[in-house]
Symmetry: C2
Subunit: 177 residues, 2 copies
Amino acid sequence: MDNDKPRLAIDMDEVLADTHYKFLTLFHRDFGIPMDLHQEPGKELHENLPEEINGQWELYVNEKGFFRDIPPMPYAIDTVKALSEKYNVYIVSAAMEFRNSLEDKFDWLGEYFPFIEWTNILFTGDKIISANILIDDRTRNLKNFNGRKLLFTSPHNLLFKEYERVNNWQEVAELLL
Amino acid sequence: MDNDKPRLAIDMDEVLADTHYKFLTLFHRDFGIPMDLHQEPGKELHENLPEEINGQWELYVNEKGFFRDIPPMPYAIDTVKALSEKYNVYIVSAAMEFRNSLEDKFDWLGEYFPFIEWTNILFTGDKIISANILIDDRTRNLKNFNGRKLLFTSPHNLLFKEYERVNNWQEVAELLL
């Protein structure tokens, strides 16, 4: 544990990983949903879909492999690498919700973020972590966090006004580097 | 997240799970090591074994299945169940060290501690958690923790004198219930 640097905790889905893109490829493949589906601000991705298919997201997300081939968010890798020089970076994902995501998420981090050591990875339920900064797209994770809260923009969180917001990794770089 | 109760974080190996017993059954099976091997205070289990076989522990621990059939510690289940009434209990295991332990540990908890929800399970590297109490057998996990630290006795930690110590789950029950 490197105690000299401030601790920066970073979420995975919709922050490091473009999980929406993966959902869209599956809904496109199976139901012909357009890849540029209009996403209504404040709604979960699946809430924009016809009722008869939108429950499908739960089947997708529980399948082995779902989390293994998600594209990283633009500029996430280079920015996190640069942040690692200045911060003690921890990756904190609520992976425990989906048992079959555990190995996939671990392997995904090994592929795209090999410079993050195992000591700096946390798979959680509640994010009861002690850190200086948390970047997350879910207000339920930021709510009880004691440090600086950065809400990473995603269509589902666009209606929240009470958080400091970052819209992409370039903005994170400008703010924290 | 139940915010009304104090948060009690509990380690897995050598605290909830009798991991030493599992190691001994494998060293016994493969090398005839006696199940009642004398364990020198302050030494890791494998440091009590002949040099030509003691590196084997790393192979065991990285095998799929190693963490799946470990016996729970005596009185751990009933005590944790009772503690759950009074505390918001989180299970916090440094599982990230062994990629192949993730699913096994998740399934093991589901079998023996089904009353612990996924929200209350954390698999970590460093235990950078925010809680009121942490029960752990590793001083490296207690060292940087900000709450009350309870060192759960294990042969390897017998020489540490500077921590509040609990020797078994009956003692935890007496202290915290």
